[in-house]
């Protein structure tokens, strides 16, 4: 039972001939959801990371990079088992991933407990930002609530008197609405939770029409978001401001298309972010994979660059975990977001933006930055983290 030592051909490290000592090599396990309906998000993460390694000539921090790609199949028990496989059998130095919060909860213990580093390029749950923060756990994305907080703050500033909230009935959905309400003081006409995976939103849309709120805030990731946005337009609600997070993004826009135009979202980046390095990344990703990268790809790319910079800072000496951790904490890399630092809980301190779905001249859809909402924003759980 050899494991997926799928050092993907085109990306394979320029192998050193002869008895290259293991010390000249850095092993990174990528754990993303790569099968099933949610695979599109995991594929972005994987491709973003591999693109970075490719641009670094198959190296990370000057060491030949051996990348092991693992599919967590969105099954927490399998993910936990494969995470242990990565650290115990493959002896990787870093694990990067996953997309989903429940997978993060399952793999966090096995990886950090073994003394390896786990770098989450997407999921950022509140427990690991606060009381359960861990020295070997870093997040290059955000704390899960933050994109929702952006929209709450925006709704507050715009002075919407009443907002209708909509989210799937699971942990992330409940966190999302809690995040929105953190900065919004207006009236919440309804907090509606739908069963996870619900495809038809006619019941909820009828309620929205009946309540006549001044705006709608929704968190409906993946296929649910595609359905909601299209049905929202079809129900004739197009004039009602639609605020969202993880609902209108580069993974759903190819299917939402015109229906999403003008819809607003909270994000820490968008493909048209005004920064030279970011533009280069978007162009390279599009050329390589044929689609516009979303934040999932951007955050994984940054995770690779973070590792690269940290390993370089310790001169490739992976044996000194403390020095490596310090190097990671300094986050001394050129982020696609221009400014990026870690808080003491190893979650990012970064800017957040209001984005809008737009169509490019070549017909493709993407999110576009409208304005900055938060400056150097840190999550609200950091105070509970006792890490220095």
């Amino acid at each position: 039972m050899t494991l997926r030592t799928a050092t993907i051909g085109a990306f394979a490290a320029a192998g050193l001939v002869g008895g290259a000592a293991a010390a000249d090599e850095i092993k990174v396990g990528l754990m993303f959801t790569l099968s099933g309906p949610a695979a599109v998000l995991g594929e972005q993460g994987r491709d973003g990371f591999l693109l970075a390694v490719e641009q670094l000539d198959g190296q990370l921090g000057g060491l030949d990079a051996k990348i092991i790609v693992i599919d967590d199949e969105q099954q927490p028990d399998l993910a936990a088992s494969r995470a242990r496989e990565l650290v115990e059998r493959e002896d990787v130095d870093f694990v990067v991933g996953p997309i989903f919060s429940n997978i993060l909860q399952a793999i966090h213990g096995p990886i950090t407990g073994s003394g390896k580093f786990l770098i989450s390029s997407n999921a950022g749950t509140s427990n690991y930002a606060g009381a359960e923060c861990h020295p070997n756990f870093f997040v290059t994305s955000y704390q899960n609530d933050q994109n929702h907080e952006v929209m709450g703050a925006y709704a507050e500033r715009e002075g919407f008197a009443s907002v209708f909230l909509l989210a799937p009935n699971y942990q992330a959905g409940r966190d999302s609405l809690a995040g929105f309400k953190r900065h919004f003081t207006g009236e919440i006409v309804s907090e509606t939770y739908t069963p996870l995976g619900q495809l038809d939103f006619s019941a909820e849309l009828a309620q929205i029409a009946a309540f006549q709120p001044e705006a709608v805030f929704a968190f409906m990731p993946g296929g649910m978001g595609v359905n909601l946005v299209r049905q929202y337009q079809q129900a004739g609600l197009g004039d009602l401001p639609f605020l969202s997070a993880f609902t209108v993004d580069e993974s759903t826009l190819p299917a939402q298309q015109e229906a999403a135009l003008g819809m607003l979202a909270g994000a820490n980046w968008a493909p048209d972010f005004d920064y030279e390095r970011s533009r280069e990344f978007v162009a390279a990703y599009e050329e390589r994979f044929g689609s516009i990268p979303g934040t999932y790809a951007m955050q994984a790319f940054d995770a690779a660059m973070l590792i690269d910079a940290a390993v370089r800072a310790v001169d490739g000496d992976l044996s000194d975990a403390d020095a490596l951790r310090e190097a990671l904490r300094s986050a001394d890399f050129d982020s696609l977001r221009r400014e990026f630092t870690f808080g003491h809980n190893h979650y990012p301190i970064q800017d957040f933006y209001l984005t809008e779905a737009v169509q490019r001249e070549d017909g493709k859809f993407h999110t576009s930055i409208v304005e900055r909402i938060f400056d150097d924003y840190q999550d609200t759980y950091a105070d509970d983290c006792e890490m220095e």
């Binding site: 309906p37 594929e43 939770y193 495809l199 019941a203 993946g222 359905n227 079809q234 689609s291």
Partner: protein
């Protein structure tokens, strides 16, 4: 409140109609051929993907629909010829195993051909927009069209089954299969016809729902379970049962989601009501099925326990 109720009823009926289109084929295949087809849901998915493809190729919804249906029919016949035909005489469990395998193959095949990103189909101009209904509340024309189409199909099925020779054979086959073959009917041909027709109905449901729902590789699995719920509540083999059960499931699911918490607020405080409501909402159709089966172990219109 009354307006909302009527609107939600319409929504429930529309969901029910879709479920009926998928369930009709499944209950016929099950009732007449005594065949458990786990792969019925993937035909629905394939219908949607074919529609998405042909809309792009032809650029016209009305042209794409018949082409997609023809392709789905061919696909159904291909499956019947290569796989299902070998399974008719096997046990239910073998059928489950083989068609489960088929689900995996087709689902992965779809991902390999069309990728993981969801696709979509635009609503045809003729049916776009909403019409005012009951004062301020709007209702999408396309959804009304789905309801209308479903009712026409249901009526057509009713006429075929109750007033034609084929229908007579189908009814006879559903209640006593050995007798039909003893009467000299070519059962093989009848089976192929039923299967291909059922496949096309499921694909049709997938195709007409494509403008409303996202087209992705998970859509087959989600509809499959609901469809089985429908045919079991209705009673296996009964088209009438499938229709009644489909509408019932659609309406209960839709109304439960929107009015459940409101009703619960009458007996408990609001926060507990909303918590209980959202715990119960997704369970409602399963509770409905459990209650129906506890009272009528062969479903509402089921003649014999399968």
């Amino acid at each position: 409140m009354t307006n909302l109720l009527i609107l939600q009823l319409l929504n429930g009926v529309q969901l029910g109609i879709l479920l009926f289109l998928v369930a009709a084929g499944l209950t016929l295949i099950f009732g007449i051929m005594d065949f458990i087809n786990i792969a019925h849901g993937v035909l629905y998915m394939v219908g949607a993907y074919l529609m998405a493809t042909f809309v792009v190729i032809t650029g016209n919804f009305w042209l794409a629909l018949p082409v997609a249906m023809a392709a789905a029919l061919l696909f159904g016949l291909l499956l019947e010829y290569t796989i299902f035909r070998r399974l008719y005489e096997r046990s239910h469990l073998d059928q489950v195993l083989a068609t489960f395998g088929l689900v995996m193959i087709v689902t992965e095949g779809v991902r390999m051909i069309w990728g993981s990103t969801p696709l979509s189909v635009p609503i045809p101009a003729l049916l776009s927009g909403s019409i005012p209904l009951l004062g301020i509340i709007q209702y999408p024309v396309y959804r009304l069209a789905i309801i209308g189409t479903g009712l026409v199909v249901a009526l057509g099925l009713y006429l075929v089954i109750n007033h034609t020779r084929t229908g007579m054979l189908l009814r006879a086959g559903a209640s006593n299969r050995p007798m039909v073959s003893a009467l000299g009917v070519n059962v093989g041909q009848l089976f192929a016809f039923v299967f291909a027709f059922g496949a096309m109905l499921a694909a049709f449901a997938g195709a007409i729902v494509a403008p409303v729902l996202s087209v992705d590789s998970g859509m087959g699995a989600s509809v499959l379970i609901l469809t089985f719920v429908v045919i079991v509540i209705g009673g296996i083999g009964s088209i009438k049962g499938a229709f009644v059960a489909a509408i019932l499931v659609g309406v209960v699911d839709t109304l439960g989601r929107s009015f459940g918490p409101i009703l619960l607020q009458m007996v408990m405080d609001p926060s507990a009501a909303s918590q209980t409501g959202r715990t119960l909402a997704p369970m409602l159709i399963y509770i409905l099925m459990a209650v129906v089966l506890a009272v009528r172990p062969a479903g509402l219109f089921g003649g014999r326990p399968a």
